[in-house]
C-alpha cells in the first residue's frame, strides 16, 4: 500500500483525541441501533406476522429508526467532527471542553430517553422527526446549547484572523437548530391545521438547517485537507451559506402538497424549492471543481471516495427534491415510497456518507490509528451498492403505487404492486447494515484499537505518539 495522504498525523491534545473519539464511538452505537431497527422494519413488509409485539411493532419502531439515525447517529457524528474542524481551522485546541463533554452526555441521554419512551408508545404525535416528547427534546436542546458554547468559544479564541468557511456553516447549524427546536415545541400556535404548517416547517428545516449545514461545513474542511489543495472557490461557499439560509426555511410546505394548507403557501414552497438549486449547485459544484484533476488522489485515498459519493448524492438527492416538488409529479409520487427513497438519497447518500468521509479523513489524523484498507473498501462498496439499490427499488415501488392509485384500482393493488420491491429492499437494507458493522470495526481500530506502531514493533503503549 502506497503512502496515504491521510497518514500524516495532526499534533492534537490528548483530551481532544478522547473527545473526538467519544463522539464518534457513541454515534456509531446509534448508527448500529437505528439501522438494526430499520432492518427489523424492512423485514416486516414481506413478513408482517413476524415479531408481533407492542415493543417490536412497526408504528413504534419506525420513529425509533428515524430519530436515532437523526439525533443519535448523524447529529453526534457531525458535532464531533465539527468541534475537531473548529479546533484545527482556528489553530487552537477545542475550547471550553467541559461544555463539549456535557453536550456529548446530553446527546446520548436524549437518545436513550427518546428510544425508551417511543418504544413504550409515549410520543409527541406521529410527527416525523419531532416524535420525542417535550422533555426529551429539552435534553437534546441542552446538548445543542452546550456543544455550541464549546464550538463558539473555539472560534472566538482562534489565532487565525479569518473565520474559516467551515465554521460559518457549523456555527449556523447550531444557531438555526436551537431556534427551530424552540419554535417547533411551543404549543400555543399549533392547533388543528396550524400544527400541520409547523410540521412542514419543522421536518424539512431539521434536515436542511441542521444536517446539511453541518455536513457542508465539515466537507469544506475535510475535502481540501485530503486533497492537499485549497477549496476551488471560497466565494461560492459564502454564496451557498446565505442562499441556503434564504431559501431553505420556506420549502417545508412542499411535504403537504394538495393538503388543506393554503394553496399559495404550497406554491411558495415549490418556488423556493427551485431556488434551492442555487446553494445545492454552488456547493456540489464547488466540491467537484476542487476534486477536478485529482482523481488519482481520490483513488488512492480511503476517505475521499466517501466524500465523492456524499457530494454526488448531495447534488442528485437535492436536485431530485426540487424536481419532485412540482405538482405534476407530486400528484403521482406524493404519499408513496418514492419519498422514502428520496429521504435515503439525502440522509444516507449525502449526510451519512459525508459523516463517514469526515471520520475516515480526520479521526486517524487525531489518533494516529488507521482503519484496515480492506475493511474500509468493503464498508464503502456494501454501503454504496446497498443504498443505491435501495433508492432505485423504492423509487420504482413508489411509482407503481402512484400509478396504481391514478388508474383507479382497489387500494390493495398498490400493496401487491410494491410487495416484490419491499422484499428486495430488505436485502439491500441487509447489505447496508453489514457495512455498518464493518464501519464499527474500523471505528474501533481508529480509537480503542491497538496502535499500528505497537503492532509492528510491539513497543509498550506509553511510547505511542499522542
Amino acid at each position: 500500500m502506497s503512502v496515504f495522504v491521510e497518514l500524516f498525523q495532526d499534533n492534537v491534545e490528548a483530551e481532544d483525541i478522547r473527545l473526538f473519539s467519544a463522539f464518534t464511538l457513541t454515534a456509531t452505537f446509534w448508527l448500529l441501533l437505528s439501522t438494526f431497527v430499520a432492518l427489523i422494519l424492512s423485514f416486516k413488509f414481506p413478513y408482517p406476522d413476524w415479531a408481533t409485539s407492542p415493543f417490536l411493532s412497526f408504528g413504534r419502531l419506525r420513529a425509533i429508526h428515524t430519530n436515532d439515525a437523526f439525533y443519535g447517529w448523524a447529529s453526534v457524528a457531525l458535532s464531533g467532527a465539527a468541534l475537531y474542524v473548529a479546533s484545527r481551522s482556528s489553530g487552537i485546541p477545542v475550547a471550553a471542553k467541559r461544555w463539549a463533554w456535557s453536550g456529548l452526555i446530553l446527546f446520548n441521554l436524549a437518545a436513550v430517553c427518546g428510544t425508551v419512551t417511543l418504544d413504550l408508545g409515549i410520543n409527541n404525535g406521529d410527527q416525523e422527526y419531532r416524535e420525542w416528547v417535550w422533555w426529551v427534546t429539552i435534553i437534546f436542546a441542552l446538548a445543542l446549547v452546550t456543544t455550541f458554547i464549546s464550538l463558539l468559544a473555539t472560534v472566538v479564541r482562534r489565532v487565525e484572523r479569518e473565520i474559516y468557511i467551515s465554521n460559518w456553516y457549523t456555527l449556523g447549524a447550531f444557531i438555526f437548530t436551537i431556534l427551530l427546536g424552540i419554535t417547533a415545541y411551543i404549543p400555543a400556535y399549533q392547533h388543528g391545521l396550524g400544527q400541520v404548517a409547523l410540521q412542514g416547517f419543522y421536518m424539512h428545516n431539521a434536515v436542511g438547517m441542521w444536517f446539511t449545514f453541518l455536513a457542508l461545513g465539515v466537507t469544506y474542511y475535510a475535502l481540501p485537507k485530503l486533497l492537499n489543495r485549497p477549496i476551488y472557490s471560497y466565494a461560492l461557499g459564502v454564496l451557498g451559506f446565505w442562499t441556503n439560509l434564504l431559501f431553505y426555511p420556506v420549502i417545508g410546505a412542499h411535504h403537504y402538497e394538495f393538503s388543506p394548507l393554503p394553496w399559495w403557501f404550497q406554491t411558495l414552497a415549490i418556488v423556493f424549492s427551485v431556488g434551492m438549486l442555487v446553494p445545492v449547485w454552488a456547493g456540489s459544484g464547488n466540491f467537484f471543481l476542487t476534486m477536478r484533476g485529482h482523481w488519482e488522489t481520490v483513488r488512492r485515498s480511503y476517505a475521499l471516495p466517501f466524500m465523492v459519493v456524499g457530494v454526488a448524492y448531495y447534488f442528485l438527492g437535492s436536485t431530485q427534491g426540487t424536481v419532485e416538488s412540482f405538482r405534476s409529479l407530486q400528484g403521482i409520487w406524493h404519499l408513496t415510497n418514492f419519498t422514502v427513497g428520496h429521504s435515503h438519497a439525502t440522509m444516507y447518500g449525502f449526510i451519512t456518507f459525508i459523516s463517514w468521509g469526515a471520520i475516515y479523513a480526520l479521526l486517524p489524523r487525531a489518533t494516529g490509528k488507521h482503519p484496515s484498507a480492506l475493511a474500509t473498501g468493503l464498508h464503502f462498496w456494501f454501503a454504496l451498492v446497498g443504498v443505491t439499490v435501495y433508492i432505485l427499488l423504492l423509487s420504482i415501488a413508489g411509482t407503481e403505487q402512484g400509478l396504481t392509485w391514478a388508474a383507479g384500482n382497489p387500494f390493495i393493488a398498490s400493496v401487491e404492486a410494491a410487495a416484490p420491491f419491499w422484499l428486495a429492499r430488505a436485502v439491500a437494507g441487509t447489505l447496508m447494515f453489514v457495512s455498518h458493522l464493518i464501519f464499527a470495526y474500523n471505528v474501533y481500530m481508529m480509537t480503542l484499537g491497538p496502535s499500528r506502531e505497537t503492532m509492528r514493533y510491539e513497543r509498550p503503549p506509553e511510547s505511542v505518539p499522542a
Binding site: 408482517p48 408504528g59 408508545g121 410520543n123 406521529d126 438555526f176 396550524g194 404548517a197 393538503s259 404519499l335
Partner: protein
C-alpha cells in the same frame, strides 16, 4: 468575515424572522380557523381511542387527508381546514402504505370487521401487510358477561378459547367509527 459575533447575530436574526414568518405566523393563523358546521370535539372514549392510534403510530401508514385529485375521490370529498379544528396532534400523515382513513367510519361501518382486522388483518384482507395488534385483545377460556367476542374465521383464532376485545380496542374502534366527513354544501349543523 472575521467578526464572529456579527456572523452569529446575523444568522440568528435572519433565521428568527423566518421562524416567525414561516412557522409561528401560519401556525397561529391556521389555528384560528373555525370548525365546519357539524365538526365536534371527540367524546371521551373516542379521544382515548385516538391516543392509542397516536401511540401505535398508525399514521405512519394511514393518512387522514383527502386531496383534490381524482384518485382520492374514493376516500371522500377534498379535506378543508375546518375539518381539523379538534385534530391535535395532527394526523394528516405523509405516507399511504395503507388506505386513507378520513372517512373510514362511513366506508367501513362494521365494528366487528374492525375488531377482526385489528386482531389479524389477513383474516379479512389476504394480501394486507398491516401488523397484528394482538395486545389490544385478550384470549379467554370463556367470555364473561359484557365481553365483546371477536368472531374469527377458521385458522385465525387461538387453538383454545375466545378472543375478547379490551377496553383499548373498544375505544380505538370507537374512534375509527367516529371518522366521518361532514358535508361541505347542503349540510345542516346539528
Amino acid at each position: 468575515m472575521n467578526n464572529v459575533w456579527a456572523l452569529v447575530a446575523a444568522s440568528a436574526v435572519i433565521y428568527g424572522i423566518y421562524c416567525i414568518l414561516m412557522g409561528v405566523a401560519p401556525g397561529a393563523a391556521l389555528s384560528r380557523v373555525p370548525p365546519l358546521p357539524g365538526v365536534h370535539p371527540l367524546a371521551a372514549r373516542e379521544s382515548h381511542g385516538r391516543d392509542i392510534y397516536v401511540a401505535e403510530g398508525c399514521s405512519y401508514c394511514h393518512t387522514q387527508q383527502v386531496r383534490p385529485l381524482a384518485q382520492d375521490q374514493v376516500f371522500g370529498r377534498p379535506s378543508v381546514a375546518g375539518d381539523y379544528v379538534y385534530d391535535t396532534p395532527q394526523l394528516l400523515g405523509t405516507e399511504r402504505t395503507g388506505p386513507d382513513l378520513t372517512s373510514i367510519g362511513s366506508r367501513q361501518p362494521s365494528e366487528i370487521w374492525q375488531y377482526i382486522h385489528l386482531w389479524d388483518p389477513r383474516a379479512v384482507v389476504h394480501e394486507s401487510i398491516m401488523p397484528r395488534y394482538t395486545w389490544l385483545f385478550q384470549v379467554k377460556d370463556k367470555a364473561g358477561p359484557g365481553d365483546v367476542i371477536v368472531p374469527l374465521p377458521p385458522g385465525y383464532g387461538p387453538e383454545k378459547g375466545v378472543v375478547v376485545a379490551t377496553a383499548d380496542a373498544k375505544d380505538l374502534v370507537a374512534y375509527l367509527e367516529s371518522l366521518k366527513q361532514v358535508p361541505l354544501t347542503g349540510g345542516q349543523a346539528k
